[in-house]
């Protein structure tokens, strides 16, 4: 069989095959998931079991997602573009990350706060809160990286100032600080400090991470436990019993969001608390989402007696070891799953602590306001008594 009646047409066919191979190789050659893909969940493979599956657009959406996630070109290009942005242009190529000076990355959500909405939600929340001392409901708000590192927001170049970037955030910080002053038994504002971090030779925040370092996160134990217990001298006890423990890689969530590999994140020592005369036992509770583990820690001889439910976001994780041994019976659940957890258990708690970074805090207040009865129904009789004695 003659391949073609014309050399130019034969070359045309060869060109088509070569183009097909080149395009196909961008997907197939070396395909698979690796470090650059680790921040995207592998989409489920489509199942085709009937004609209706073939005619269902969701089948092809799953195919599209699979092809996109497994394309080998991702391995080459995503780190290349991200690294070019980070090192050469010094500006994140992703819309969700802002690059300031000294390679500091910031999360866009920090700047998009709904200030008016936050104020309204907080006002609604505050109306429902009893102004009592020793409240069984406590709210902890952690200042975010863009507030603490506001002086590093300005990129090293650029025709315009970015001071407007953090206006909303700074106002929200000031609002929360004011609220914490007005209702000292209800709300605590924690500002991660360089001093605490430096004590452990750590930075307050690492360039590629939106979370505080383990050293800076010791602030949680140091400030919250004495606040709940009403014993300022507890702070010294904690301070004297903190020590370095295992090395761990800082999260590097902003590196991941930028498309940069996690390997850029430094290893840092965790900071653990070991109180004399205490012993902890950890029980892992069933959790529907493995990325949001639930656990219960029983610590004999801990200074904070009774049962405590700590509802928290990812900011709690670097602080976990320097905080947990302070509570006799501490159950920790992700805030996002709080309602689901409480609906599935009949346990009662002596206190419930809500801990969240600033950007999520106003939403936390809204959710609390909407489901207040769910939370209070899980307080012990004594705790409910405190609320009713307002």
């Amino acid at each position: 069989m003659a391949l073609s009646d014309n050399p130019s047409r034969l070359w045309g066919r060869i060109a088509l095959v070569m183009t097909a191979l080149a395009l196909g190789s961008a997907w197939i050659v070396g395909s698979g998931r690796d470090e650059v893909n680790e921040n995207t969940a592998l989409p489920p493979a489509p199942k085709i079991e009937s004609v209706s599956d073939i005619l269902d657009t969701r089948t092809y959406e799953q195919f599209n997602a699979q092809i996109r996630a497994s394309a080998s070109a991702r391995k080459l290009f995503i780190p290349l573009i991200a690294q070019t942005g980070y090192d050469v242009v010094q500006r994140s190529m992703r819309l969700n990350v802002w690059q300031g000076s000294d390679g500091q990355l910031f999360f866009i959500e920090d700047f998009l706060c709904d200030r008016v909405g936050a104020r309204n939600r907080f006002a609604q929340w505050a109306e429902q809160q009893p102004p009592i001392s020793d409240s069984p409901l406590r709210f902890v708000v952690i200042a975010d990286k863009s507030t603490v590192y506001a002086d590093q927001l300005q990129p090293p170049y650029g025709p315009f100032s970015v001071t407007a970037l953090n206006h909303c955030n700074q106002d929200t910080y000031s609002d929360f600080s004011k609220i914490a002053t007005q209702a000292p038994d209800l709300v605590k504002m924690i500002t991660p400090s360089a001093e605490l971090a430096q004590r452990w030779d750590q930075e307050t925040f690492y360039p590629g991470d939106t979370h505080w370092s383990p050293g800076a996160a010791t602030a949680f134990g140091l400030e919250v436990a004495p606040w709940i217990q009403g014993q300022p001298n507890l702070r010294d006890v904690i301070q004297n019993n903190l020590h370095r423990s295992d090395l761990t890689r800082s999260y590097g969530d902003l590196f991941q969001l930028s498309g940069l590999p996690m390997s850029l994140s430094p290893f840092v020592p965790l900071v653990s608390l070991t109180l004399p005369g205490t012993q902890s036992t950890v029980e892992t509770l069933p959790a529907p989402d493995p990325t949001k583990p639930r656990n219960r820690t029983i610590t004999t001889g801990a200074p904070i007696k009774g049962s405590t439910l700590l509802l928290h976001d990812s900011f709690m994780e670097p602080a976990e070891r320097s905080n947990t041994p302070l509570y006799e019976d501490l159950t920790q659940v992700a805030i996002a799953e709080a309602a689901q957890y409480l609906e599935s258990t009949d346990r009662k708690f002596d206190r419930i602590v809500f801990a969240s970074v600033m950007r999520n805090a106003s939403l936390l207040f809204r959710d609390f306001t909407n489901q207040k009865s769910l939370y209070t129904s899980h307080l012990t009789v004594a705790a409910k008594q405190k609320l009713s004695n307002r």
Binding site: V17, A26, M93
Partner: protein, 468 residues
Amino acid sequence: MVFSSPAFLFLFLPVVLALSALLPWKAQNWMLVLASAVFYIWGAGGNIATIIYITLAGFIGAIAVARTRSQSSRWRTLTLWIVLAFVLVPLLLQKYLPVALVTIGRPDVMTWPLALGVSFITFHAISYVIDVRRGVIQRERNLKDFALYLLLFPHQIAGPIVRYSEIVDEVKGRARPRLEEISYGAVRFIWGLSKKVLIADNAGAIVHAIQATPANEVSATTAWLAALAFAIQIYFDFSGYSDMAIGLAAMFGFHFPENFAGPYRSLTVTEFWRRWHVTLSRWFRDYVYIPLGGNRHGRAREYIALTVTFLLTAFWHGATWPFLVWGGLHSAALILERLTGLRDVKGWVIPRRILMALFIVFSWVPFNAPTLGQAVDQWQLMASLDFQALPPVLIMALTPIVAIALLIGCVTFFAPKGNLTTFAFIFTSDHRRALRPAISAVLAVVLLIVCVAMVTWNDFSPFLYFAF
């Protein structure tokens, strides 16, 4: 399926290109029909039933129309209208019935979802049936060949609107494309892909960011930026799609008509419509404007025909007030140009270019607004000239890639006329001879690598004109 999606670029296109090269030439039409069906099902699933209905309605309807050739004119016209009504059924039921039900206060009545590309495929079928009625073409006797014309995947979703007379010879007996034709097709496809991925999607990021901006942070700065970014997005998105369609068709031996000819370089609105979405303008001219009398029955009739044509064009895009206002603006501008003689003015090139650029940016506002009220709000902000600093969301959104894309987009408004005026026109059909093939090929390979990089980098982003 979207041309710029990984599924198309890394799976569908390589398979179809390889099949095209390796299968016997006689099997090409079957292969393309099947590939086009897969392409459609991949994007629209079970809605392919709608497209099969239009195909059969057009095919059988044309037989009926052809058989009335010896009948009286009235009978032939009646047959034509009946056939057109059958062809239009899905478009009316899926696109306009839901709007009508909402208008009469019955949004609870269940309707059909809008099938992808139904507007374009319906217009192809209508042009075919009318051309058979007019005797411009013979009715097609082979259903496979007709299905290939109607469903050919390069133009299936968003045009260009190809007349059957333009490609019937190629459907019936085209030769295997030569290396030069394939090279041209590939370069044209890559150029279109670049327009979409590198410029339109990045301009779109700004449009989306502004839509996400709280109302109290929007000023004249953001309103103008939103309008400019959308003007850039829609041109590069749609013309990029047309370039890709034309390029793909060339790689399979078809020649599609041009759809864009530098519309943002126009000096008048009349000229704009000769350069923007050319195949749609041509469709409305031949099947609506001229049958309504065109410009041969006095000025009043001409203006009425013009207004009706533009309102129908707007209605084709969507039965909403913003689209109708957009169409009304353009028809009013066209009539004004005719009344004042502005259409025929020579000279004053720079002021006219500036005026035209402002008109283009201004008139796209309702096209992108969900409601007329929002369009009016944006116009008011633009007119207020209350320029303030950019809100945080926009500072974030203006990444280096986005800023460069916007700058390149702006060039289209200010590029001088003539050949090889900007890099953006290097690969368009009328200038392709200006560059040596080797340079084009090297540039195309570089652009393809950059596009593949961006496709893997960016999230999935469908074409704007799929909505129509």
